[in-house]
Symmetry: C2
Subunit: 373 residues, 2 copies
């Protein structure tokens, strides 16, 4: 095999690249891509994609997610498709992983061409999930919050908080943040990360203090229980609540009274009734799917003093929108490389022949090639 | 970025390998692995894995497959899990792909650790699917066919036929093949591929001629319609029928009278009632799940003159068994390389920090490294 090792240092023949039909973006590639594109451009770009894709809501095949529950966590597959694109995300949730030095959530996704079934993009999705979640939240607030909203309370200052802050800055026009976390170190990290980003930052010592006077309240806490982060007496007329952390069965952030006092908007109703803060409410509690606001079949906010809630849980279509954005950006910037995730044998009828073909083409060592010029 | 390009030619630091937690086996890697291990060892090894995994049948979470149907084909996700392992296979079916020079079926699979959700293996699965299908068929025949079976009719001489032939040679003891295909070129390819493999080969000019006198009849045709390849008058007392090609809605090979005349065994009853030759039969037509034969709760074949049918459609557990075999073999032989399919940031609470960290660790060009010594 040693005679082939020089291939790893020389350009791959065209035939090799042609065999690799799938663009691969690993964790490092995604970091490079977001750095080169710029996080603001990624947030705005993904928000734009989500808006376009949600406007075609009835065209999407909205399968239920497949969840495999085990003692210490869950592994899920989240598929979605229309007549042109298929996508799924693999994502786990294992709260005890931190003790083993592993992330509690790991994710990757695939984008495929529906016409032929060919996988087009395989991408790591931890960073991409944070971006698409913030983009979705900001897109919803752009339509549901008062247009003059400038102050946002940010309750929960963990891994997703910076992404929420920057998406709301760029998409909604937020200029002042009032942040609180039960862990002061989390808040200190957020303040350090957002320095010089054009946001006025106010560290608060309670949820109530952070919420007071805010136009928008974003809750993005990580407590895996039925918590009551936001209570009805904290609400002020005209507030928009962006509830992000209540996103799976048994995990809520909003007091039921908050939902009762508000007009509630969701991504995909059947999913949010199980996973969202909505899980606390009766099955007939009225909600509106957000795509109806986008296509103007629902007015969204009706008055300046109305309280609106976006009960966000994260829907598979947002992952497809984000993967499509990432695919386009990576192709334009030449980030990533092609891999042979699926075989495309010269003669599909002679699969056995693969095992007895020319050693140089079929059994040579991997020749990984960045597509970057 | 050019200052980093030398990394592609030097060994990766340990930290980089540690970050890549998933073993990747592309199409070329799988070919290399099967060549080095040897196809007979792969067929026997996968059959052994399937047997062990089927013996633990009640322990598996047998989710329905997720199917996304479109005008020209279908894309499916086939998940399965127990308390230790999660696996899924992505597989498409697009009959018109051949016109575009693409395979009609492309597949890849993932094996993950249920305790932490970490993806362990990502592997191309075209060849692996052929191996696991043949291994499953041979394992079933070993228990259901007469022990003195030596002659097999092989009807349908396409991509899967060689794998069926060799699995039955090694696992069941078949010594003579009687092959037929409507396409003489397919049969010629089969004969050429099986030369020197210790099997007596007889080319037949009709299904009836191939079946006459055979102990086992394997049907593995590709016609995407309700075909009637095997009819009741061709049956002889004591035959075992291995029906492989009737494997999705609208695609059958066996005349209903063949099923009526036989004891019928299936992988997973709810799936086979929809996808197998069984789709032609009433909902209460009696069948036995094969795992019951393996664990001796069903006797299997009851008499030397009984006709038995294994109505094979391919179940997700077989893919998990095959992926587990491949994972062990690739690790032992050092085939493949680790990829960063999921991010494992040093500080999961500071995802934003990834975008502003040390260029050398987070944004360096990909350093693909074969794990092979």
């Amino acid at each position: 095999m040693h005679s082939h090792h020089h291939h790893t240092k020389t350009p791959a023949p065209a035939a090799d690249l042609a065999r690799g039909s799938t663009l691969y973006l690993g964790a490092d590639d995604i970091v490079r891509l977001v750095r080169r594109k710029g996080l603001p451009a990624c947030l705005a770009g993904v928000a734009g994609r989500i808006e376009q894709d949600f406007l075609r809501w009835p065209e999407w095949d909205k399968s239920a997610r497949v969840a495999c529950h085990s003692r210490d966590g869950v592994i899920e597959l989240m598929p979605v498709a229309d007549a042109a694109q298929f996508a799924f995300k693999y994502v786990n949730g294992h709260p005890k992983n931190t003790a083993a030095g592993l992330p509690t959530v790991m994710a990757f996704g695939l984008l495929a061409d529906v016409a032929t079934g060919t996988p087009q993009l395989l991408a790591e999705m931890t960073l991409v999930t944070a971006i698409r979640t913030a983009a979705m939240s900001a897109l919803a607030a752009k339509r549901l919050a008062r247009p003059d909203s400038r102050v946002m309370a940010l309750v929960g200052n963990g891994a997703q908080s910076e992404f929420q802050a920057l998406a709301f800055r760029d998409v909604v026009g937020i200029r002042e943040l009032r942040q609180f976390d039960v862990d002061p170190q989390a808040t200190a990290k957020l303040v350090a990360n957002l320095a010089g980003q054009g946001l006025e930052l106010t560290v608060c010592t309670s949820v109530a203090e952070a919420v007071r006077g805010a136009d928008i309240v974003t809750t993005v806490t990580a407590d895996k229980t039925r918590a009551t982060i936001l209570t009805p007496e904290m609400l002020e007329p005209g507030m928009h609540v962006n509830g992000v952390g209540g996103d799976c069965p048994g995990k809520t952030e909003l007091h039921p009274g908050v939902l009762e006092a508000a007009s509630v908007f969701v991504e995909y109703e059947p999913q949010t009734r199980i996973e969202g803060d909505l899980q606390q409410m009766p099955a007939d509690f009225p909600v509106t799917e957000f795509w109806r606001v986008l296509n103007r079949s629902h007015p969204g906010r009706r008055a300046a003093d109305e309280v609106t809630v976006f009960d966000s849980v994260g829907f598979a279509l947002e992952d497809l929108s984000a993967l499509a954005f990432v695919h386009e950006a990576a192709t334009a910037l030449g980030v990533g490389r092609r891999i042979d995730l699926v075989a495309q044998p010269q003669d599909p009828k002679n699969l056995f022949g693969l095992l007895h073909g020319d050693d140089d083409t079929a059994a040579a060592p991997r020749r990984a090639q960045p597509v970057e010029a």
